[in-house]
Amino acid sequence: MNEPHTDRPTGDLNPEENKLQSEPKSGPKDRTRRIFLFKLSLLLNGAVGVVLAVPIVRYLLGPVIDKKNAYTWIALGNVADFPEGETRLADYRNPTTTAWDGDTGKVACWVRRVSGNQFQVFAINCAHLGCPVRWFSESKLFLCPCHGGAYYQDGSRAAGPPERGLFEYKYRVAGAKLMINAGELPTLSTPASAKNTNFVPLDKIGRATWQS
């Protein structure tokens, strides 16, 4: 099955021609040419690398450079569910979740109905390191189980390591529904509600004036 030229790998070339084909050219000019070509190949690969790095870095930084506003208005429940003068635990599903987020897509918060349509909605996360604070109605305090941060009923700092009061959501009352502006884990640098969203002044029947 051998091809005829395997016996004569040089094919039909005469020995002189064959030498030109297979042996490296070793003149000083050829060498500088190869060095130049090698440098060129490095440069080419560097350029390709940079071009490849752009989409990779953009992909990696996706969560950072995502300009979409994560915050939206979410219905937390009926106003009537929150008795006046009391503080109750509520939860909602974060507006941006996936099916595979499971329970972690849920977020808890504390709703304090001061009176009528006047509310305070606090993030569950302690302003110190984000642990879930618990409400104690008798002592009218929020206590953090992690490092003992304590807050008064209006969310202001009472004691412990937190530097500030509880994070507060902006809310509005739309009809019978209590709505909050939410969408991010509240931390010292990521606010609970969008910065450019305002508390909506409420009229007597609980309809936000922005609607009218």
Binding site: W100, D101, N125, L141, L143, P161, S189
Partner: protein, 522 residues
């Protein structure tokens, strides 16, 4: 006949070996490396920790791969897949336990290895870079521990991520992008778990493998540190010749003369990991990662308890600077150590500062870890409803004082204050509070707070305050003399309380009550 056969088999075996060796060429350099000469003083039980750390790393890789056969890196299912591993997969609990205990052992051995290298001056010339790579290996090992704890994806993991995000958020200017980069989205969720899975399974192990390979190559290339002698000074000009003398003239081959100790210790360590895994079982998972279940007291795994303690004990104003600056200083100091102190004495008896540093750091880490397990700064969330007031504090008390005891319980004072050895330790224990604070001071402290106590002015009615203070005034410890206001004593008001034996005046009558001491004045 049988002997002939045996010889034939042997010959065939050698031929197969030579066939491979001719192509691979690995056996010769491997054997040369194994038998490289070491100083005879280095064949010591003190030199076994590096190899033990490597063996534990291999155990972690093996058990990790086996766990990945079942584990599901999705926020929705990770926790259930671990329950499944614990309960439904044949010996799944044991593999999880091996991986968990292997991790704790690896951190412990890496730290011991580091202390040994430091105390023996092994980081000095020419092994500076070996130490620097070792520092990165320590950080990567801790990174594995943190990301591994996240993969458990239970309540502790969920809120631990919240703590991580809160720390990131303290970085000035780029705080918010850092939080998003860490979480992979606006909240803690599946994107977060996926990136920690990637870190734990691909990125950090890859870096660790490369780092360990470099670290080992350098140990082979530069030789193991000799046993330090007081007065034998490391000098860049002469050290290598001296070391050559030690290995070539008085040395011994690493395998087998030194390696048998490494091998025995490695076997003992693996056996210890297996024993811990068998007797103590796997770590968690604790409660499911549902952020609406807030009845939880999150805590990090053992290697990070000291950090948890430091974060709770720092004054609020110092916290952000310390969180941001301390790691840079600590890691920087560890990296610069061999470059600053690359020459000089190796022996610990001539390096008192080094000994002092190791002792102070070890004791501090130990104390902080201990505090991290007992968490005296955390309120005991259910103390007010679960820990009763000791009956001796209710005996022969007036109705007002007993009412005060009820107020004391109802208002959750117990969550932060210990009485009769039960309750929180956030604030001081109150068994002898009346010997420290006068009545007026008690009222002021309760209503206005201060010294890290919240003010209860809004949470207590005047009647409740009166009763509470009346009760607190009965808490005199072992009949200590009650605290008294010197100015009032001078004017004859507010004489020492009658809880001191022998005095007639009934106790617990506050000046806020109708029969105040002032009105009793003759």
């Amino acid at each position: 006949m049988a002997e002939l056969k045996k010889k034939g088999v042997q010959k065939a075996g050698i031929e197969v070996y030579e066939w491979f060796e001719h192509r691979l060429g690995l056996a010769k350099p491997a054997m040369e490396a194994a038998a490289h000469p070491i100083p005879s003083s280095s064949a010591s039980w003190w030199y076994v920790f590096g190899s033990a750390a490597t063996v534990l790393f291999v155990l972690q890789i093996m058990t990790g791969i086996l766990l990945a056969l079942v584990y599901t890196p999705s926020a929705n299912h990770a926790w259930s897949s671990l329950q499944f591993l614990n309960n439904n997969v044949e010996l799944g609990w044991f593999l999880r336990a091996l991986h968990g205990w292997g991790s704790d052992f690896m951190i412990a051995i890496v730290l011991i290895h580091m202390v040994q290298v430091f105390m023996f001056g092994a980081y000095k010339f020419p092994r500076e870079l070996t130490w620097i790579i070792g520092v990165f290996l320590l950080l990567l090992t801790l990174g594995m521990a943190f990301t591994g704890q996240v993969l458990r994806f239970d309540q502790d993991a969920y809120w631990g991520l919240g703590i991580g995000a809160s720390i990131m958020s303290r970085v000035p200017i780029i705080g918010a992008p850092l939080v998003h980069f860490m979480l992979g989205g606006p909240i803690i969720g599946s994107a977060t778990l996926s990136r920690f899975f990637t870190l734990h399974v691909f990125v950090i192990p890859g870096l660790l493998l490369a780092g360990v390979a470099l670290h080992l190559l350098m140990v082979l290339r530069l030789g193991i540190n000799e046993w330090p002698m007081p007065g034998r000074i490391v000098r860049k000009a002469t050290y290598e010749a001296e070391y050559h003398q030690l290995t070539e003239k008085d040395g011994m081959p690493f395998v087998p003369d030194g390696a048998w100790k490494d091998a025995i210790f490695a076997a003992a360590i693996i056996l210890a990991v297996m024993a811990c895994a068998f007797f103590f079982g796997p770590f968690g998972p604790t409660g499911q990662p549902d952020p609406t279940i807030i009845q939880t007291a999150p805590k990090p795994d053992a290697p990070f308890l000291w950090l948890f303690a430091v974060l709770s004990l720092l004054p609020p104003s110092m916290e952000t600077p310390v969180i941001l600056i301390a790691p840079v200083l600590i890691i920087g100091a560890m990296l610069l150590l061999p470059l600053v102190a690359g020459e000089g004495e190796k022996h610990w008896s001539r390096r008192p500062v080094a000994v002092l540093m190791v002792s102070v750091i070890a004791v501090s880490l130990g104390i902080f870890t201990r505090l991290g397990t007992t968490t005296p700064w955390s309120p005991v969330m259910n103390a007010w409803s679960s820990d009763a007031v000791p009956t001796k504090y209710l005996h022969e008390r007036t109705p007002l004082e007993r009412q005060g005891a009820i107020v004391f319980q109802d208002k959750q004072c117990r969550n932060c204050h210990e009485v009769g050895g039960e309750g929180g330790r956030r604030g001081p224990e109150l068994d002898s509070v009346a010997s420290r604070l006068t009545e007026d001071q008690l009222v002021r402290q309760v209503l206005q707070g201060g010294g890290n106590m919240p003010a209860y002015g809004n949470a207590l009615s005047p009647a409740e305050t009166t009763a509470l203070v009346a009760f607190l005034k009965t808490l005199n410890g072992n009949d200590l003399r009650p605290a008294q206001d010197a100015s009032r004593v001078l004017t004859g008001e507010n004489p020492p309380s009658a809880t001191v034996p022998g005095e007639k005046r009934p106790s617990g009558q506050s000046h806020l009550s109708k029969e105040s001491p002032a009105q009793e004045k003759p």
